[in-house]
Symmetry: C3
């Protein structure tokens, strides 16, 4: 268990006092230095290592382990004054200036040079320190802003495109520049997506732009990790923290890091501006969706920043976590695969923008109930320490890929349907206590990786590449069950629509053809489809299906709009497997039915019956199952244990009705016969 | 019947196949080339005509007629790279860049030169081709953006003002620059309306700015039409398409074109972001208002782009048209005066921003129900082909003028009242089945043109010029009935208020004086007026009237607010005619009563009785009346034919109750005895 | 009584006619020239005084007194063309241009030079004119925009900081630049708060920035008043008008002026965009809050612009004042301390942005009901003229200071709680007819100034300086009652939080400590506290209190959320006085109870009983009390006089039930035995 610590001023006494208090409540590790450029290089090319040398001395004396951050997230004032080309820009070219963080761009050669130098100096100086156990590169890559418009980015974008397309005619083809006469003759006619009328740019250019941003970020981090690897102790790890947009986090992980850490702030769900009472996304429990994504990047991850107080800047804020919520949210992270928890931050900052991003301690530095809760969390974690390294168990997965996620940012229809369906699939899995993984279909994903799942939801893969189609075919052929929604197979990798019937490359698999499609507009009545006597919503977009295979069976038909009676839901048999092609977008209710139909709903109902308000996560190690039951509500919940299970906290064997307190967590163990 | 076609790539086989399929469903004409600069001049001053030569060869072989567009709406990348002064700018000076269309400005001398050259080359090369029947200049002039802030525009604005005012003191007088010390000593101190605190500029400057934009656009189009006239075949027409803001479309028509074409997309009414179920503007039927405006520009117009699928960009969208709606909307165009219909577009674009602007065919290029509906539309059009050239019939007109329309964009009160009243007048005419024209009071409008209308609604002419006052006096003197609402006669042509009692220049005509006036604020109760025992809403703004003529009669008085009991509605006799001066803004109910009072409501009730859900349009040719009955609803409607009428589709004589199907259209003919 | 007059064009006849009409209705004074730079210096360094010489001649002939304005609010076009550095800029550096007013910046040396020159020329030329009685500097300082981003401001900001901090390390300390590595090494690395990601800047920098803006404005005005003092007649006063943000109006008054005048436009409350029917701020009566602030700056102030018609620009507007409202609002000003009323403006402008900012007369220049109401106001004012110079009476005051007001603009929590509590305290004082002052705690405020109040509400002083703590201690020690809400004592003057328990420097006074605190989030149920058997709302933020003094008594405890049972409201005895420390934010109901508890509620209930709809103000002079009763409603109200009072309008002695007409005002006098 760790925390994030900001020494800030030379104050040995306070430092030592803080580290002692940490140890007393079970904290063994601190992360430091991730914004501290000036502490090491206060003026250009003047290096001074005393500050952290002193701190590390004390840490070693106090036996506290250290994760050391590189400071590149906050270039100093002397740097941006001397080299304004290091700054990121607003889309219209206005440079961002001091006052916030992450004001730099990844592609400035000068900034790359100065970043490389400070990382080299820091790693070479501190790399062998005994207390250091790992390195964090930069901080929250692509947080706050994930678009870049400096001239350095513009030049780098052209190089990225040259390398990708080689021939400018290929770029013109991929971007469909014949439309609206956007054809380019020379590479230097091409710019970043810029200021346009009605703020609308060529969508294929935008898709490549996102890929470019992702590559830029990864390249910047790889430059740093390559340097650190030269100097770190062999056993120390390299990581970064957070998980943000316009970034292929999987590739970043594989290219740069040893382990991935996430920053988990579920209290955003209750902040000012949110209507948590009427939200439809399960509020803080929605973070389980995020944690599932993190798990897909790195099955055994860490939490570098775990919420330990009210979050907020001077410009936004929320309430304090209720007693129990800090422990609950830490356990949520663990239930989903975290093997390390570090609370953000030790003490609340008394100055700066993050004045309301509360740490464990308040400004007044007194012991408080949150410190007690941290100690309690540490105690609870010890009781389940045998589960470290166990694997999250799921028979169903939500399939995602970066091409479609990014296209959904650019394409209104894609964005609406994908966002909606993924949320509903998540909710259905949560509320039926059917643990679910999120799996990414990457360039190197092999069918084998998918085989562990009986069922895959791939709700709206508009973009389907031949490689992806091949992997999916293999998966189904081998007995998998693939579930698709509307608009599958509509596009190719460049975001252009294919001139063939949907679902395009998947049609052999689905045994279907999309005859016509329509958005369900604001003036349309809800469209339903009938399946096995039940009427279910067909969602916000409808593909009107046709059968094109003799193996296919119509499971459900639309009951409304002008296509009433047309097939809405078709099952196809392919090899040993099954494909369910649904013409609509998914709702929680539809997904519940599909989980039932595919026989994977509530797989642990022989162990326990849970109410809606509790999440169930299951981790497995050797022949043991660990059941995590998390109550997100402000009232207690009753669960029904159908078998005798071992409560790892009370160390009792339990059966029958058990009460989970408000914001409470129980962890049960059972042995698999 | 036509369509818009985009050859895009050399693909003779596809082109020929497409043209054959068009012919098979009744399409005889295609529009091409309106964005295709690079297809003719791929590099500066390198011309190559092969692409369209080939296409026109095939068109001639397939006997398809062609409307050829000039490509100036989309300057190429090589052009804007070499001559960035061709670009339009954001108000703060940031240049618009590639990624959208219409990124140019009308006033750059360089862009004018290059535009003139490509138009000259295209017209001289293709002008004598047999298949060509007409020319479209540019595309949707002033669409997407109708404000221009490049330095070329700034310089041109000064020239425009010098020419208009000659003496800078006249400009100072017209702009009221003495207010807030905005006086100009030199022409070069004057700029386009720029970035100001709270985004508020001198309103008289803004009014001249809009006039300047309009003149700039017209000048740019006239430059092109003058060139084309030198090369085109004598029988070929020149036109443009659409109808957009900050543009005197009447003057543009008279100065540049032979015929006007409009782009009709009624499905916008059902798009994302609209609340069509609760809208108060009749949704797609509101396009009849637009079509009436087009008719005022050109009584027998064309539709260059008629909706043939779901509309949308990657950034906005809507549902597919329901079966029947495409035909309905095409017939709506015809009922209002269109003698040519061209569907946009043949096939949906697979790439680019307009990826969701659906054509007749989907991406998959298969035959579909929309293609069938196009063919059906063609068949129906043939059955009514004898009505081509017939005139729209109306006894009442809504009077408009550009000065007031533009002032209403600048002036909040003017904008609110004019928008509201025009909509309500439109709705009352629609729902009472009283066909209405829209007529523009232009510089050269003569009284004679107005005489064909028994009644003219001129709801809120804040600006009244002496010339306009004269025309209106003549109209009333000769027996016309003029209806005015609040704030009439408040301003002069420069947008300044007159220092005399309202309605100013119209007071002799109205026999009234406005004692006081007030906006009806958000905390005020609805104000009513009583007229002949009925209480009607006085709307959102109230002029408190006084009689100043012995001929005047108070018809109604306010019943609320602090002016209860004061005259609200005064009738004056002037010459052989009548003026009704209403102190409020119009509501549908008030207009219904006025139509009744003036004896022109429901003029065809001896022919048929219609429910609210159906629009009635009447066209006349020789001694025949053609009744178009259009059902905009999703349920069928019953109409009652009071006389025997000839159904031009079924070729039967009908009387009594007839059912109009959902989205159905009937056309009846009768002979005038 | 006066008005604002705009001669605009040479028109002796109109001027004379206007002045005669003014006199006829009791207007004796006009303000002129505040935007008229070009009338005096039409070209750079060409001065011509004829225009106002002529006007002043006529004014003297007509015996109208004149307040003369300096024209620096609207630099001429010739000036900004020649010296663009005089312009203010948008935050991103785009210069504001002509079209509005106040487009200049205070810190341009060139603009300061030219401003000084025209003020010198105007004051030296007109200074001795007999009709002139006073000078207005500029116009509405910091109106429309109170942020400045020109390069001149940037340079001046650095100088301001150098002078304030001397050592850059002190600045780094005060701004907490160690956070996010914002440390500055050189002064020229520092800039104005600029364009940042997510528009968030260092909050301590922002606080200094506001102080800088305030100092800049005051310096600019002082430069002018120093010049005018050299030339004006000794008896003439110097003032400015309005009261706007980012400005220490008290310091500006003390530094530059002899008297303060305010611009009062209560009809904003009923304008477009406001929902006056459902507002919670008492609408036009809310202006009494503003007037109380003005009174704190200058106890006997003037109104330079009193609303006399519908307000509005071409871009926003509202209804006309109802008959009676103009008189009501003028009397509201007088009741709160105004001894001079000038109506804005004589006649409505026929041109320019303020075309809908109606004057007494409409464009048509006819006599109207508003002119009649002005005359009536003058007549009523004569009847109460003996009250001129009387003092506003209050036993309770709301305490404010600039540090906290400005911090509340930067800090979301601070802004929400302070805005809410101040409004509720105001409402409770209004609705219980407990007249209240607003008092500012300034650098030079002495305890003595506070002693006149039995009770002080200082709801949320997050920033507490040692000096302020000392003054408050003295106040309480001497017997005062101080009431504090949540978050008191959280910060120091630079906006940084203190590392000690709240209420920090006030804890000795309160006998309390804040154990923990939380925002009451959108998903939380309302939290209440129980006090003496009553359950009252604890508002939107809760400090959980602890007693730390044996003198303290818990008055109330929370009944909900996780801190139910904890102290919410603690009373401490300190010296002869009392401190009430409330952990929540104030609601009207809570304040009503506190007013009752402290024994100061409804202090004049022995004189009269009033309904909620009427405001009561009391002014005192010698041994006379003047009661102003103002009815803001559209229906009449009954009041009950418990003693016999002299009605200064009817000149009758009244007792018992009296009816106050809609928008009516009564003024009663009584003698104190």
């Amino acid at each position: 268990m760790g925390t994030c610590y900001y020494p800030e001023q030379w104050d040995f006494k306070l430092w030592r006092q803080d580290l002692k208090r940490m140890k007393a409540c079970g904290i063994t590790t601190v992360r430091i230095a991730e914004f501290a450029w000036n502490k090491i290089e206060p003026r250009e090319n003047e290096f001074n290592f005393d500050f952290f040398d002193c701190f590390l001395d004390i840490a070693e004396e106090e036996q506290i382990k250290v994760i050391f951050g590189t400071p590149t997230a906050t270039p100093p004032a002397w740097l941006t004054k001397a080299y304004p080309e290091a700054l990121n820009c607003r889309k219209d070219g206005v440079k961002f200036c001091h006052g916030m963080r992450r004001h730099y761009n990844y592609n400035s050669p000068k900034y790359q040079e100065l970043s490389a130098r400070i990382v080299e100096r820091a790693a070479s100086h501190y790399g062998k320190r005994a207390c250091i156990i790992g390195w964090q590169i930069d901080n929250e890559i692509n947080c706050e802003i994930d678009e870049f418009y400096s001239e350095s980015d513009n030049l780098a974008f052209r190089e990225f495109l040259k390398e990708k397309y080689e021939d400018i005619d290929c770029l013109n083809q991929a971007w469909g520049t014949v439309f609206w006469n956007q054809t380019y003759n020379q590479w230097d006619e091409i710019n970043l997506p810029g200021i346009t009328i009605q703020n609308t740019s060529n969508p294929h250019q935008l898709l490549d732009y996102i890929r470019f941003v992702s590559e830029s970020a990864i390249g910047f981090c790889k430059m740093q990790s390559d340097i650190i690897r030269k100097y770190k102790k062999p056993e120390d790890f390299i990581t970064t923290n957070g998980m943000f947009g316009n970034l292929d986090n999987h590739k970043m992980m594989d290219t740069c890091y040893d382990v991935y850490t996430y920053d988990s702030y579920p209290n955003f769900a209750y902040g000012i501006g949110r209507d948590a009472l009427h939200s439809e996304d399960l509020n803080d429990r929605k973070w389980s969706f995020n944690l599932s994504q993190v798990r897909s990047i790195c099955p055994h991850f860490g939490i570098m920043e775990q919420q330990s107080g009210a979050g907020g800047w001077n410009t936004f804020a929320g309430p304090a976590p209720k007693p129990g919520q800090m422990l609950l949210w830490a356990m949520q992270s663990i239930a989903h695969g975290a093997d390390y928890i570090s609370f953000f931050r030790w003490r609340t900052a008394t100055a700066g923008t993050e004045i309301y991003w509360h740490g464990i301690l308040d400004y007044d530095n007194r012991d408080n109930r949150r410190l007690t809760e941290v100690a309690e969390t540490g105690r609870r974690m010890k009781n389940i320490s045998e589960a470290v390294g166990s694997d999250f168990e799921a028979q169903v997965a939500l399939l995602r890929d970066y091409d479609n996620s990014w296209d959904s940012q650019i394409d209104l229809w894609h964005g609406e349907i994908l966002h909606k369906s993924e949320l509903e699939i998540f909710k259905a899995s949560q509320l039926t206590h059917t643990p679910m993984d999120i799996v990414y279909l990457l360039n190197d994903t092999e069918t084998q990786e998918l085989r562990q799942y009986q069922v895959l939801f791939y709700p709206h893969p508009e973009i389907v590449t031949p490689e992806a189609a091949e992997v999916l075919k293999e998966y189904v052929k081998d007995g998998g069950c693939l579930i698709l929604g509307c608009r599958a197979g509509q596009k190719q990798k460049d975001g252009q629509c294919v001139m063939e019937p949907m679902p395009g490359l998947l049609s052999a698999l689905t045994g279907t053809s999309v005859k016509e499609y329509t958005y369900v507009g604001p003036a349309d009545e809800e469209v339903q489809f009938e399946w096995d006597g039940k009427k279910l919503s067909a969602g916000i977009f409808n593909d009107i299906l046709e059968q094109v295979s003799s193996e296919s069976v119509v499971l459900g038909s639309y009951t409304g709009n002008y296509y009433a009676g047309s097939p809405a839901f078709i099952k196809n048999t392919y090899g040993k497997g099954t494909v369910l092609h649904f013409g609509g977008t998914f709702t929680e209710e539809t997904v519940r039915e599909i989980l039932q139909f595919t026989g994977i709903r509530e797989p642990y109902k022989n162990y326990m019956i849970l109410p809606d308000g509790c999440e169930l996560c299951v981790r497995k190690k050797d022949s043991c199952l660990y059941f995590f039951v998390l109550n997100y509500g402000r009232v207690s919940q009753e669960i029904e244990l159908k078998k005798t299970l071992y409560d790892m906290e009370t160390k009792e064997n339990l059966t029958g009705t058990v009460v989970i307190e408000p914001y409470g967590v129980a962890v049960y163990r059972t042995s698999l016969e």
